[in-house]
């Protein structure tokens, strides 16, 4: 699929770089991922984070593009995909934001869409930032 990430992300590093409020990355969910990584699959967490970062960047670009064109259906599709992949890595707040975006796009609530897109973009930056910092530190 893609080259292996060289950094090992660990929850402790994510936790240290977090600032106030609801955690950007849910501790429980992420630790389940960490437990899954055993001798059989030692790079699982790093791989998944890398996969998420690449995939989500693309999807967020789609969201921004679709927002500019007011293409609700394209927003809905991208938001749906982001909703589940972010939930998998523990980015629960972002996942919820994507879920609201998806619901709004599905309901053709076009008026509310730009605001929800902005909120999602903001939160996405947080998630991305948390992972990038963590990998930088461990590098």
């Amino acid at each position: 699929m893609q080259s292996k990430p060289t950094s090992i992300v660990s929850f402790s590093k994510l936790h240290r770089n977090e600032h106030g409020g609801d955690p950007v990355i849910d501790r429980d969910v992420f630790s389940i991922l960490e437990e899954l990584a055993d001798e059989d699959d030692p790079d699982l967490v790093a791989e998944i984070v890398e996969l998420f970062l690449v995939d989500s960047a693309e999807r967020m670009a789609q969201v921004a593009d679709a927002d500019a064109k007011s293409d609700a259906d394209a927003i809905r599709g991208a938001a749906h995909a982001l909703k589940s992949s972010s939930a998998n890595i523990g980015a629960l707040r972002f996942s919820q934001a994507c879920a609201s975006l998806e619901a709004a796009a599905r309901g053709d609530d076009l008026d509310g869409l730009p605001e929800l897109v902005c909120a999602a973009l903001e939160m996405y930056e947080d998630v991305r930032g948390a992972f990038v910092r963590a990998s930088d530190e461990s590098a």
């Binding site: 699929m1 991922l33 699982l44 996969l51 599709g77 589940s84 992949s85 939930a87 998998n88």
Partner: protein, 683 residues
């Protein structure tokens, strides 16, 4: 009379079934009708001195002391009854024709030794209880397992394998194996053969029951009683032949049956011993008379060996029980069982690991899903979109498909619908992954052909449970598929077997006569008998005159009817031992056993007249045909079988040249008118 199974017909068509020959066959012919004459049968028996001796022996055996000794066959018929003498003659002729056959694991010598032991024991038991005629019991005992001999004769190699793989196993296991291989078991074969030979229905059914199970049946109905008598007799016979190779399980069985015998005889151990010793003694004497291998037996030793064998069997059983663990209460056992980690789900389908195709456009979900599946030891492949999923599913034919619903190119349900329309996808187990499941989606998904759902993000345990259910179904599917394949293979096998049987068949389908293959086998056997024992035989080659004109002018249907009618006419003119075969076309060969050329010439003339007088009626055809016949017999001047056949062929040619519708004898000068008249009258 129950109908004859086609499987038996197939065995019969092989031409390899043991059958009475010589005098036995003649007797079978003579007695085919109900109103046969006892004199004819007596004459047939008397033509064979050893058979006569054996029948007189039985007529004069044991409890006939006090009666005046029977010294003639007609006396034996008077004493024993015509039908008993007939069946005896048949049974004896079967033994006299036996040869060690091609089925190597089948012990032919032992087979007849045991059959004789059973026969003698059955006779003694019948006499003791005053049930049935002792001679009848003797016949049933002797022919009791004839079906095994038949299977060994017809399917030498395959039956050999069955015998080897069922050594030491139960009678039931053997019969099941027979049935699996031939679709008929030796019980049914035995029954059909006895019925075929015209033995009484009581014998037929009793032998069938005896062959079907070893356990006794507590009824007073004659068939069941005779079957039980055979079982007891078989126990004695088997005890006589007890060897080092007899498996302990069988020894136990024989021992149990002998105990029952002791009880029904109402004797103690020494009484049982005395009874069995008497049987063994008679067995030995009969062995000498019938040229069957026997040995001197002391039943005190046999019974001791059985007791020892039973102890051994018991010890073995105990050992097996100990190895299996002591029998204690389940609770106590359960407490000792260590908690074991459940094995991975990815068990195998047959020999292969179960293949799963995982499909999700979200790489993170897909990666996690694959992680789970690999941990369960499945063989996993993945696809990132609907189109790719469809392509891979059709190529890789996974047992399970786990597919995300929401995908940009083709969504999950579209993939499922497409797959369900293909033969590959029809039996696949399909799990749908969804972020949400509304009722509408559920209905739509089941309509599309989804088997089950998993919601995202999934819990590892929930996913495992769902997959487990799927694997079970996939395994069932695979089993159904395997069974279907096996059935198809078996059908193919059966068709191949039928074809083989047909080509190996020894019967000409048009006339029902034995065909050229059989004819050549038969003359070969006769030729060898002549070389060995100087028994003469002659062949009559015959050819329908101007048959080609019949075919050309009246068509092949009429031609076929003429062939059939001629075959019947020829048959009607034969003596009991003669046999007519269709060599092909309009050519027939008659084989006359024990006949000199002059006897053959008489038979040939009789055939000529029979055909000449037999008007064939068919659309547009209403007349008799004629045949030209050539007779050749064995004598010093004939160096080989080929020379004999060639001589008869040349004689036919001569007959054709000299006006057709006449008999010519090889190497003989043209008969004078007086001689021709003499033949005509004697025929």
């Amino acid at each position: 009379m129950s109908s004859i199974p086609t499987e038996f017909e197939e065995l019969k068509n092989s031409g390899e079934l043991p059958s009475p020959t010589g005098v036995g066959m003649k007797i079978l012919e003579i007695t085919r009708t109900d109103d046969y004459s006892a004199e004819d049968m007596g004459d047939a028996i008397m033509s064979d001195p050893s058979l006569t001796g054996r029948i007189l022996r039985l007529a004069n055996s044991a409890d006939r002391a006090g009666h005046e000794a029977v010294t003639t066959v007609s006396g034996a018929i008077m004493r024993l009854g015509g039908s008993v003498v007939r069946d005896l003659a048949l049974a004896f002729s079967l033994i006299s024709e036996r040869e060690a056959g091609a089925c190597r694991p089948f012990d032919y010598e032992r087979y007849w030794s045991l059959s004789l032991g059973r026969a003698v024991a059955a006779q003694e038991l019948s006499r003791h209880f005053g049930l049935f005629k002792p001679e009848e019991a003797y016949i049933c005992g002797l022919l009791g397992e004839i079906g095994m001999l038949a299977l060994a004769s017809v399917h030498a190699e395959r039956y050999g394998k069955i015998l080897l793989s069922n050594q030491g196993k139960t009678l039931r296991a053997l019969r099941e194996a027979e049935f699996a291989e031939f679709e008929i078991d030796h019980a049914t074969v035995s029954k059909c053969m006895l019925a075929e030979w015209g033995l009484p229905q009581l014998f037929v059914e009793a032998v069938n029951q005896f062959n079907s199970q070893r356990a006794f049946t507590p009824t007073e109905e004659p068939i069941a009683t005779l079957a039980d008598l055979l079982r007891l007799a078989d126990a004695i016979g088997s005890a006589i032949l007890l060897g080092e190779t007899t498996p302990p399980r069988r020894i136990t069985e024989i021992g149990d049956q002998l105990e029952i015998l002791r009880d029904v005889l109402k004797v103690d151990d020494s009484g049982l011993q005395g009874f069995c010793d008497q049987v063994a003694k008679e067995w030995q004497q009969w062995g000498e008379s019938l040229d069957i291998e026997t040995t001197e037996i002391r039943f005190s030793q046999v019974l001791a060996a059985i007791a020892h064998g039973r102890d051994m069997a018991r010890a073995e059983e105990n050992k097996a029980r100990q190895q299996a663990g002591p029998e204690v209460e389940p609770a106590a056992v359960a407490a000792k069982v260590p908690v074991v980690k459940l094995p991975p789900l990815g068990a195998t389908l047959g020999d292969e690991r179960i293949r799963i195709l995982a499909v999700d456009d979200d790489p993170v979900s897909l990666r996690l899903l694959v992680r789970h599946l690999r941990a369960e030891r499945f063989e996993v492949s993945m696809a990132r979109g609907g189109k790719e999923a469809l392509k891979r599913a059709l190529q890789e034919k996974p047992a399970l498909l786990i597919v995300d619903h929401e995908m940009p190119d083709l969504n999950g349900l579209e993939v499922v619908r497409a797959l369900r329309r293909s033969s590959v996808g029809a039996s696949m187990y399909i799990l749908l992954l969804t972020g949400s499941h509304t009722n509408e989606l559920l209905v739509e998904a089941f309509d599309a052909g989804v088997d089950d759902f998993v919601t995202k993000p999934f819990l590892a345990t929930a996913l495992s449970a769902r997959i487990k259910a799927g694997v079970r179904i996939a395994k069932l599917q695979a089993k159904v598929e395997r069974d279907r394949k096996t059935i198809l293979e078996q059908l193919a096998d059966k068709n191949a077997l039928n074809r083989k049987l047909r080509t190996a068949s020894l019967t000409d389908p048009l006339t029902g006569l034995p065909n050229r293959r059989h004819a050549m086998n038969r003359v070969d056997v006769e030729w060898k008998a002549t070389e060995r024992n100087g028994i003469p035989f002659c062949v009559i080659m015959l050819d329908i005159d101007k048959f080609k004109a019949v075919n050309d002018n009246f068509g092949h249907d009429v031609g076929d009817e003429v062939l059939q009618a001629t075959a019947q006419a020829v048959k009607s003119a034969l003596r009991g031992e003669d046999e007519v075969c269709r060599l092909g076309g309009e050519e027939f060969l008659v084989i006359c056993r024990g006949a000199f050329e002059k006897d053959g010439a008489i038979v040939a003339e009789r055939i000529r007249q029979a055909v000449e007088n037999n008007v064939v009626k068919s659309p547009g055809f209403d007349r008799a045909v004629t045949v030209s016949l050539g007779v050749a017999g064995t004598h010093e001047g004939v160096p080989s079988l080929m020379a004999l056949l060639k001589a008869s062929d040349e004689a036919v040619y001569q007959a054709k040249n000299e006006g057709r519708n006449c008999v010519r004898v090889a190497g003989a000068p043209l008969p004078t008118p007086e001689e021709a008249e003499k033949y005509r009258r004697s025929a």
